[in-house]
């Protein structure tokens, strides 16, 4: 069956209200590790991707920097990205529903990669 590819952007609100404890953080890490491993075993993980820094810059024509990050217009931090293969958007959404970031106030933006 033809598979489609999807970009996952892991987003977290910039001002999360609750300070997680050290224990909470370790649990998060364990969940992430398990989740990626599961995606891999089930053949969904096309590209593991990378974590992203919160700073950076937005550059326009002529090399003019519009502003340096963190990006004021977005209330979310993009924690990182991956590429997942699934049969359709519905499946890609279901898979994203298991992402650990959802457990602590974050969200996954699922974007189909244009094929043609």
């Amino acid at each position: 069956m033809a598979m489609s590819e999807f970009l996952y952007l892991y987003r977290l609100p910039a001002d999360s209200p609750n300070m997680p404890s050290a224990k909470n953080m370790q649990e998060r890490l364990q969940k992430w590790t398990a989740w990626f491993k599961d995606l891999e075993t089930r053949g969904y993980l096309k590209v593991l991707g990378h974590p992203l820094e919160t700073d950076g810059a937005v550059v326009t024509e002529g090399g003019r920097t519009v502003h340096d990050g963190p990006y004021a217009e977005s209330k979310d931090i993009v924690l990182g990205y991956s590429v997942v293969q699934a049969k359709d958007l519905a499946e890609a959404r279901t898979i994203a529903g298991g992402c650990p970031v959802l457990g602590y106030g974050g969200m996954v933006e699922v974007r189909p990669i244009r094929q043609m």
């Binding site: 370790q26 890490l29 990626f36 974590p51």
Partner: protein
């Protein structure tokens, strides 16, 4: 790359280590900044390690990341110029990364920062209950929410308590110097705080057994740091460590999978942790080299006597009563007197135990303590007065602080009702006997 974390408490330990180290480097007035830097570092570790796996030496990774984070926070506060010397010192520390990564490989017990932080938390200007909360917050990476849960205090109240304590700490001249003149006085306060921390876990009111286990574990980890640091490893420190090990050895038999409590006399002794008992006895031996007998020595000796007894009946109760008497001379307390009365009942029978319970000086201070009426109930029941016993157990039930205590007391009430309907049997009038089949059945 694919290394895994040493254990499930790694972040907690690292959090305490990093906050202590950064605070030492930046000065206590930057305590809040150090905490922020550590918080952000752990969040970054989650983010990066999720994708790249746990690095070969996660402690070294965290140390470097926390330092960098602290530097950038200092800059962000636009205080870089004012605090240039600190940044300089941080940069120096980076420069000696070789020596530093060697330090990162040493077990935490050989590092002083956490000890100094522990002593700093027990500043005389901070009330004892806040000292314990502060230790959990700074050295164990507990969130205010977690600390408030552990102590059954509202989160807002705990936040206030913690922020007051942190204000005192960040107003001091620096982290406590381990060579200071008042080292011994402060050590006494540290031992007391760790004792309270352990007791909160062992006997405390928090309904979540896992949380209470965490408190015991943290107290044991921190007391182990003291044992490993010669000036702090006094006989009293060894005795406290012994007490914790010997008490903790009984935890597997004390609380079952459902979180239900089983009192000492009825515990399945084969489930006691033999390794912890051996460790506890070793520590107790090491504690015997001084002249002074501390309250921890006496409590540890009581725990050791239980640990060595093959059964409740074969326990030398007379010795235990004597140890309690000595403890009462050192630290008069209605709770200690209550435990002594229970031992008297085991030694001389329930009527004598009841007399001892009723003559506890300051018994009114036990008014909110469910185990006082519960002990009255237990002994009345052994005397065959089931309806009196039931009345006491009901009073205890009203005072119960968590579901485990309530479940336990509900069972005792049911036992009273069973016995008052059938009338007391010969067996029930006997002094306590944990292996009595009828008692076993009621559990």
């Amino acid at each position: 790359m694919t290394a895994s974390l040493p254990d499930e408490h790694f972040f907690r330990r690292e959090s305490g280590r990093l906050v202590s180290t950064l605070t030492r480097m930046l000065g206590v007035h930057h305590l809040a900044l150090a905490e922020d830097a550590v918080q952000e570092t752990l969040a970054a570790a989650v983010q990066v390690w999720a994708f790249r796996g746990v690095p070969e030496n996660p402690s070294a990774w965290l140390t470097t990341a926390a330092r960098n984070r602290a530097v950038s926070l200092l800059r962000r506060e636009r205080t870089a110029r004012r605090f240039a010397p600190e940044i300089g010192r941080l940069a120096d520390a980076e420069g000696t990364a070789g020596a530093d990564s060697a330090v990162a490989h040493l077990p935490p017990a050989l590092r002083d920062d956490e000890l100094r932080m522990m002593f700093s938390c027990c500043h005389p200007g901070i009330p004892a209950d806040a000292q314990v909360a502060l230790v959990l917050s700074l050295l164990s990476g507990f969130s205010a929410h977690e600390v408030s849960e552990a102590f059954l205090v509202s989160r807002a109240a705990m936040e206030k308590r913690l922020s007051r304590a942190k204000k005192v700490l960040s107003g001091t001249r620096g982290l406590f110097e381990l060579g200071a003149r008042d080292f011994e006085t402060r050590l006494t306060a540290v031992l007391r705080a760790l004792y309270l921390l352990f007791n909160e876990g062992y006997h405390g009111a928090c309904p979540d057994g896992a949380v209470r286990m965490d408190l015991c574990r943290e107290a044991m980890r921190l007391v182990a740091l003291l044992v490993a640091h010669p000036p702090a490893a006094t006989p009293a420190t060894h005795a406290l460590a012994a007490l914790m090990a010997l008490d903790a050895a009984r935890l597997p038999a004390r609380v079952n999978e459902a979180g239900d409590l089983t009192e000492l006399a009825r515990q399945d002794r084969s489930r006691w942790d033999a390794g912890l008992i051996a460790r506890g006895l070793e520590l107790l031996e090491a504690s015997a080299r001084g002249e002074v007998v501390s309250e921890y020595h006496l409590e540890a000796a009581i725990a050791a006597t239980h640990a060595l007894a093959p059964s409740a009946e074969k326990t030398p109760w007379g010795e235990i009563v004597e140890l309690y008497d000595a403890l009462l001379r050192l630290r008069p307390s209605p709770v200690v007197a209550l435990n002594r009365a229970v031992a008297v009942a085991e030694q001389l029978g329930p009527e004598r135990g009841l007399e001892a319970l009723r003559s506890i000086p300051g018994a009114e201070r036990l008014a909110a303590y469910p185990f006082y009426p519960a002990a009255l109930g237990e002994l009345e029941l052994r005397c065959g007065r089931a309806s009196d016993a039931r009345r006491h157990f009901r009073a205890a039930h009203r005072l119960a602080r968590n579901p485990a205590e309530r479940t336990f007391l509900t069972r005792r009430i049911a036992e009273c009702e069973r016995q008052s309907s059938t009338g007391p049997s010969v067996e029930d009038v006997r002094p306590p006997s944990p292996s009595t089949p009828s008692r076993r059945r009621t559990r």
